[in-house]
Symmetry: C2
Subunit: 253 residues, 2 copies
Amino acid sequence: MGTQQLESVPEPKYWHLKTVLSEALDSEFSVGEILPNERDLAARFGVARATLRQALEQLELEGRLQRRRGVGTTVAPPRVGVAVGTEQHAWPGGPEDAWQPVDCALDAPPASVATALETAPGEPVHIVRRTRMTHGQPVAAELLYIPQSSVPDLSGIDAPSGAARARAVLRELQRLSPEGHDNAVELGSARADDAKELDRLPGAPVLIVTTRFLAQGRTAAVSVATYRADTCRLTFGDSGNVEIHQDPQRRAS
Amino acid sequence: MGTQQLESVPEPKYWHLKTVLSEALDSEFSVGEILPNERDLAARFGVARATLRQALEQLELEGRLQRRRGVGTTVAPPRVGVAVGTEQHAWPGGPEDAWQPVDCALDAPPASVATALETAPGEPVHIVRRTRMTHGQPVAAELLYIPQSSVPDLSGIDAPSGAARARAVLRELQRLSPEGHDNAVELGSARADDAKELDRLPGAPVLIVTTRFLAQGRTAAVSVATYRADTCRLTFGDSGNVEIHQDPQRRAS
């Protein structure tokens, strides 16, 4: 491996076990297969339960294993590249928009979002909830914050809430001329309702993508999207997708 | 909060505790301050140690707390926006390159990288190790894979290894005319030597950014960069930085 000739550091016991387990997953298990229980695995590899658990946690972080409610620990499929670049993550409601509106509410946004939107503290904005599916699986849940000033003519539309209201808000948002957007990606933990929607346990690691949509020289909308960290590889750039799956062997020195 | 009017789901006990703890961090603790030990915290909030530990793990995932070797659990500073967009993450070795070369080796890349580089299995490539600093802190460690065909005239240069060799490889890479790059971001766990370099514990959650650099109609180099997930918010897009810090209160319904 390329790292051997570079700085090498002694690796903890669970790390070596992780590598051995990873090879076992490749050679003996198929995607979706349920792993033996921890006692049996610990016995087979001659390690303590605690060491095994650490190794399993690493493999889960790396997307090799999935812990599923009422099922157990299964071998995960390769992560799916989800484009967060210009094409797919286009202006909300646009023709190439990958999101489905679910609900809409008028409420005060979090302080950090209000600042970005330059709305007064506590001033209600439209909060559109949307979900994103890939291959029939939910991969992300989003809260899209749209100040009333971005959709001034909305009052004429009578759908009070729900998906219909959400579509109406997005339709109005389309009247603005987009001036681009930017993204930020960070690690987070799944809120209970996002977790349910994404079929994850509450608090599971997620990738939080904050997007600022710019129009008429200001921030016309802010999106806070929660992506499954176990199954998603977020891709950026015009080519849309980097076809390099993280190779578990890659990092084993 | 905006989520109240949307689908609401009962949240587990540790989740409520997380919210309470988060408010306590805001009101009673300052950045860098060391938290009381788990026993005292559990007693104060009247919860079991296990519940407390779950809540602390959530707050660590969200970048509110840091576990530091030999120090304990401290209150984390706000995450730093690190640009992974066009300007900062420019062609390797370019004038705006944010990375410092550390070492260089000639070795076989992992299979997934070899495929992306279209090199033969086991064919050695230049593997440049680089680090990236922000505000004097290491925020990322990178392995940059460069096929020998991308730097054909390198043989003339005699520095056999080390940073000098790395700079020589990057200088040769500069001769190619860039045709852009794309990125993929996914969750990973810190390899022991990356962890040491980033002052993290081995296996800590990290954001792995895989970048493909394109030139002359093919992939001229592949970068696999490991960013600290606790302190970094990766930003994309020309504006470079979305100044929206994840607000811990945001997601508390």
